[in-house]
Symmetry: C2
Subunit: 251 residues, 2 copies
């Protein structure tokens, strides 16, 4: 059964990864062109505004600001010129990131489907993706709880009472989790993103609680150089962090 | 025990409501002034831009657009003039709405704490608020499951087999839930918000799954007249909808 458990776990990891990969590809296909058109429209509006600058009135500026605000709220970033419309928000890497925020229900909302097809696919994709993610996190949680069991067995061998062991492993699990998933990553975010430490804690908590406001998102500042593997490290942090919280609620 | 259950339930409702009310008051106190200052700064930038219009260059417009984009991303809406800075996003009603999106982990992110004090309070508030919300939804879910039990007893009295009853009540629970919590509200949103029906379904699903992107939020379009009690109806829909989904996952 030890072996069949391993096969089951591997199958789960493979189907989970495949599901996310396929989702990312479909979202990219559905959203990429629509986004490009919207971005083009904003840039043209900006150019028309600049050409009219000798006849500008307060009302013109107000309308311009209103249009820009709506564009930004729709997720179109009106900075740059036409040549930069090639830099899509819906490249594979961003689409995969988006898919991860959907199945985990974090839902930052910095990237959202704008087409009707993309929105309908999002509903269907999440309907199966969220339960699949829960099963996957449960499997990861099992790995984490093995650590606790080992500590328990070690304490038992030292002659400690069972009740005391249970309390100590729980405390260990809580304190270690807060250190490893909240305090330590916040320090990494402080360095890599240039945030204050309390902003790092705030971001880490808002992410792992799956609130996911989207006011702070890692790896998104165009003027910063991120260390290699930064995004992968963040993904691993989110997966184990969510599994840890799910375990906490089940204990 | 029937009576002591009712007392317990009432106590839960009272402490849940009080917790949310107090949270809303604290967030408003922490965030209102900071928001006003930020809004003032954006409006002053806009006025300075307008006064310089005879000497505008492409680089000036680019910088202006960049500043505006950042302001909108930080949640400051740069539309209007100085007199409108009195209209705060952090009035009591919005602050209460915000608190609801925190404890439910929906986290639209259309309104977020910007001050360090507000962010730290948000972490503490959610640490106790999310578990409290789960307990509260569990209690609401019990009410919903009573409906299923009644249907089951009625079918049992009609002489139906237990296995068939279990399947039928589950099917009833699923189909009725989709109708009452997804299909019907989507139609209401279509009328009240002027969205397409598929946008309504998308919003309803993204909300009840607690993904909460924040690309669609109800009751937020300044140029629309919403029916009275619209917001209260939406709040009731969210509470019962979340309780329904939590029950589905536990069945």
């Amino acid at each position: 059964t030890m072996c069949s458990n391993k096969i089951q776990a591997s199958l789960l990891v493979v189907s989970y990864s495949t599901y996310l990969l396929l989702g990312a590809i479909v979202f990219r296909a559905l959203e990429k062109n629509a986004e490009k058109e919207q971005k083009m429209a904003v840039i043209q509006m900006k150019e028309a505004f600049l050409q009219n600058f000798t006849r500008l009135t307060a009302a013109d500026v107000e309308q311009f600001v209103k249009n820009l605000t709506e564009a930004v709220q729709r997720g179109v970033y009106p900075v740059g010129n036409e040549s930069q419309t090639e830099l899509s928000n819906w490249d594979f890497s961003n689409s995969f990131f988006f898919v991860g925020t959907v199945v985990s229900t974090i839902g930052y909302g910095t990237l959202c489907p704008k087409t009707a097809a993309g929105q309908i696919f999002c509903v269907l994709f999440a309907s199966f993706g969220i339960p699949l993610n829960i099963v996957f996190l449960h499997q990861v949680g099992k790995m984490l709880s093995l650590l606790c069991e080992r500590l328990g067995r070690w304490l038992y061998a030292k002659g400690m009472k069972k009740k005391k062991i249970k309390f100590l492993t729980l405390l260990f699990f809580l304190v270690m989790g807060i250190l490893v998933f909240l305090c330590l990553p916040s320090f990494v975010f402080q360095v890599a993103e240039g945030w204050s430490y309390s902003e790092g804690v705030y971001f880490a908590f808002i992410t792992l609680s799956t609130i996911g406001f989207g006011d702070y998102v890692v790896g998104k500042q165009p003027d910063r150089n991120y260390p290699p593997y930064y995004r992968s490290l963040v993904a691993i942090w989110i997966i184990f962090g969510l599994a840890w919280i799910a375990l906490l609620f089940n204990l």
